[in-house]
């Protein structure tokens, strides 16, 4: 799908693109305190596609947000590459989000006044450097938006909008891309196309992707599935199939 592998120039100083060590997140305090993360240790290997699953309220989004520098931990530490996220101030966090991390939300990923292409290059445009046009073109081509590049979000379908979001997350060649149910709002066909594309980005470009999903079939696109429950990682699968994931969820659910 990608014509060249020019996008593999990731600084690969370590085995992990991102890590969490004893990550704790507590919302509120006293009686009403919610322990969203209760000491999570996890590493995301470079060039791997990881899916995170778990019942609603288990802390999946919290983990993504804290790792991506969108929120701060109550205890423990997360790293992007070798950078300890908790040590960064707001400005540094912003730069990290701009250059080191890509994030795909479930919806509302795009700035309505900008065209698809402008949305894709936005993180780079916000920085001092200039976007690598050839590479951006390639990404746009790859996500199948070549004829839609100058359209604004309200002229794009939900699937197309999510493709733009994925393209934006990839275009700046970040160390890691997080997606919080990136296909959660899409029909299965569209969602399959996007997951296919994400899988290719991991394989061909050695991109690292972590994605939260509820759907066992979506999870089967990943190299590894982590199961979260009540703020802890409770299980892990490698090279999952949809059935395997489904069965695991069932068996984990039975534990309750």
């Amino acid at each position: 799908m990608f014509a060249s592998e020019s996008g593999t120039g990731l600084a690969s100083s370590g085995q992990y693109a991102a890590r969490a060590e004893a990550a704790v997140k507590i919302y509120g305090s006293g009686d009403t305190a919610v322990h969203a993360l209760r000491g999570v240790d996890v590493g995301f290997e470079r060039g791997k596609f990881t899916a995170i699953m778990g019942p609603s309220g288990s802390g999946k989004s919290t983990l993504m947000h804290c790792m991506a520098g969108l929120d701060r931990l109550s205890g423990g530490e997360t790293y992007i590459g070798d950078t300890a996220v908790s040590s960064l101030n707001d400005k540094q966090l912003t730069i990290l989000r701009r250059e080191g991390v890509g994030f795909i939300f479930q919806a509302y990923n795009l700035v309505p006044t900008l065209t698809a292409r402008e949305n894709i290059t936005l993180p780079m445009d916000l920085g001092k450097g200039t976007a690598d046009d050839a590479w951006v073109d390639e990404v746009i081509e790859a996500v199948g938006l070549a004829d839609r590049a100058t359209h604004r979000p309200n002229e794009l379908s939900g699937g197309q909008q999510q493709r733009v979001a994925v393209a934006r997350a990839l275009a700046s060649r970040p160390q890691i891309v997080f997606g919080d149910e990136p296909t959660g709002n899409l029909d299965s066909k569209t969602s399959a196309e996007i997951l296919e594309f994400m899988g290719q980005a991991v394989e061909q470009l050695n991109q690292t992707i972590v994605m939260v999903t509820h759907d066992p079939r979506s999870a089967s696109y990943a190299d590894r599935v982590l199961f979260l429950a009540d703020g802890k990682i409770v299980h892990e699968l490698s090279n999952p199939t949809a059935d395997l994931v489904y069965d695991t969820i069932r068996s984990l659910g039975d534990d309750d």
């Binding site: 969108l70 912003t94 701009r98 994030f103 700035v111 900008l114």
Partner: protein, 855 residues
Amino acid sequence: MFKLVRRSIVANLGRLVLTLLSVVLGVSAVSGSFVLADSLRSVFDQISEDALAGTDAQVRPIPSEIADAFSSAAAPSFDESLTTELAALPEVARAEGQVAVFERIYTLDADGEIVRPPGPPVFANSFSGAEGVGGFRVVEGTAPGDQQVALDQAQATQGGFEIGDTIDVSMATGDIEQFELSGIIDFGDGGTGGAFFILMDLPTIQRATGTEGTINFVDLGAADDVSPEELVAAVSPSLPEGLEAVPQEVLIEESQENFGQIIDFIGYVLLGFALVILFVSIFIIYNTFAILVGQRTRMLGLLRSIGASASQIRGMVLIESVLIGLIASITGLFGGLGIAWLLKAAFNSFGNAFPDGPLQLQPRTIAIVFAVGLGVTVISALIPAFRAAKVAPLEAVRGGGLQQRSLTFRVLGGSLVLAVGLLLLFLGLSGQIESTANIFVALGFGAALIFIGVTMLSALFAGVVASVIGRPVQALKGTTGRLARDNASRNPQRTSATATALMIGLALITGVAVLASSIVDNFNDVLEDAFGADLIVGPTGQPLPFSATLVDELAALDEVDVISAYQFLQLGVDGEGVDARAWDSDTGTTIFNMGLAEGSLDLGSDGIAVLDETAAEMGLSVGDSLTVEFSDGELVELAIKGLYDNSAAVDGVSYLVDRELANQHVEGDAVGAIGVTLTGQPATDSPEFAAAEEAIEAAAASQPQVDVLSNAELREELSASINQLQALILLLLGLCVIIAAVGIVNTLSLSVLERTREIGLLRAVGTTRSQLRTTIRWEAVIVSLFGSILGVVMGVALGWAVVTAIPDEFLSYVSIPWAQIAIYLVAGGIVGVLAAIFPGYRAANLNVLDAIAYE
């Protein structure tokens, strides 16, 4: 339903506070102008009563139709022997002959400068020391005796005078003499309305005015058990022709009316500004409600889908506006008291200008404030309320913004409103309307409709124009500039509504600037030609008369070649009082370029010259005779000897007679200006010229109210005084700009709220806080510049229309002050920068995740 309203107000409190602020400012201004005028009126009514408390009746010359209450020309007088005759009557307990002059006698400070208040006048009165007569009371020292004066405290303080000091006094006769300060006097209950008083005993003031043996009126005290009316009846038969006796009650009424005119004027001016402010705030309220309704579309749709009727929805929005109107009215009422108090304090800081007295909050003011506060808010909310009622139940599911009204409606409605506005403006300027009040109403409504029309139409091009203005911003600022530009142009209707307040403010400011600059430039041109004189000797600023003795003194100087003077004069023509001038017509044409249109301007003792236009209006031509009434009541038939077409040198008056003729009928010699040419015609930059100027200045030193100016200096003085007036107006209109800024803060805050999710997203993908602030700042600047540019264009157009409508002999061409306009545009941009501070701060400090999750 009411619960929903309350919830909605509580939920939107932050946004409503700013809206409230704009209404409150407008309402406060209205209430303040009424409170101030009422307070002043009550105080001055009291002053009038105090001043006349000891006067049961007064004998005075029957006021002529042609004399003005505060005329600079000397008041008519009569022989003082009448006082003794009146005193002999049994009904009269006390008779005091009095002299009162206006702006002819001054005290001088150590530097020889006149001691006077900046605005109010200086009166000189006779004072016998009798408590209460004339309203004066000695508070310290004694009443003035021979060669003594008593002054009010403010004047003594300003001049640095202490009781017992010897003070130089410039007298109406043109001489300066030394007087001893005998005491400090107070007027009424304290406070002189800002005026200065110089009191002397009767013989002294008669000498100081050169009116020995005559008086201006007699104050009478009634004997026991004699009412003022009975006193008048008793006195009247013995009065010589031309005099009348007036009872206390009438005197008080007249005095109150005189003050009332000035106070009404102040009140109307303030009210005018208040209405402008109110008008501007209407747009802000409208805009806020429109945005709030728009943002609540989903909620309104939900309400509709669960059974709320359209009228319930409409009622909900309207009740909300009523509540806001109520809060604004109450706050504005007190705000008005504050404004009145501030204005009073500001005036008082110029020296005891307004006497002390409680602020008057009359029921009428309260009623008006509530009517205005409620009216403005509810009317502004009407359109949004009706639009809210049109929200379909499905909108709850669809989300999406409000249905925009059709383009056709905007174009047609906007054009119609604009056309009616232009028509009214044209009518107001055409001179077809008789009464001044109606002209102002036509101009006011015309301008208001034009602003509304332009606002409606401007939504059509706001997007495009904002995008054009944003282009350099994008080039300069890159992505943040791009986002700012997009945000400013994405909702043209909002951009135009937001910019409207600033547009109106700047349109008015620019209009005034165009008018002022046209006046200055035209008058400069006219004045340049108006005088053939090398030097003009006269008072600058106010037209204060001075003694004719200076004319003779200057004429005696070797340096002076030709000299001519003109004198203030009031004439009755066709039974109406008109301003006129008397001049030395034999030398006058050398000194004053009157632009002889026909005949001759050498008038002699039986001639009169008329401004050609006035003559044309009245159907007069050279050779006709014209009967005029002098202020002594005498009717004189004069021959029209000449017509002139340039009245700039004589303050724009329409009638000229010779000074000799005038002096046969008018006492005193109130000269307005003297012009001289210098012997040997030295160049203005030559040492001879400077020496001559010095000699003339030395001679004029006896009359401290007089300056010696060259033509160029005279023109500078004039420009300075017009610029000062413009600055004052600018200050008042500046309030509009502040309100406009509040409006921009308001809309921008609402827009930021509306775009919370988008802002969260921008932050999530790497926009720094400062980049976000930059984006919002430039968005505000683009919107402000849109309003400013529109305002400046309209201001130039309005100024042009007004100047063009003014007859050519006053203003013949339009002069546009480009440099000033450029400054206004920059200032408009700065308003945007300032307005963006708060919304920018809010946006930058949003929590990223909360923002993304925001519904």
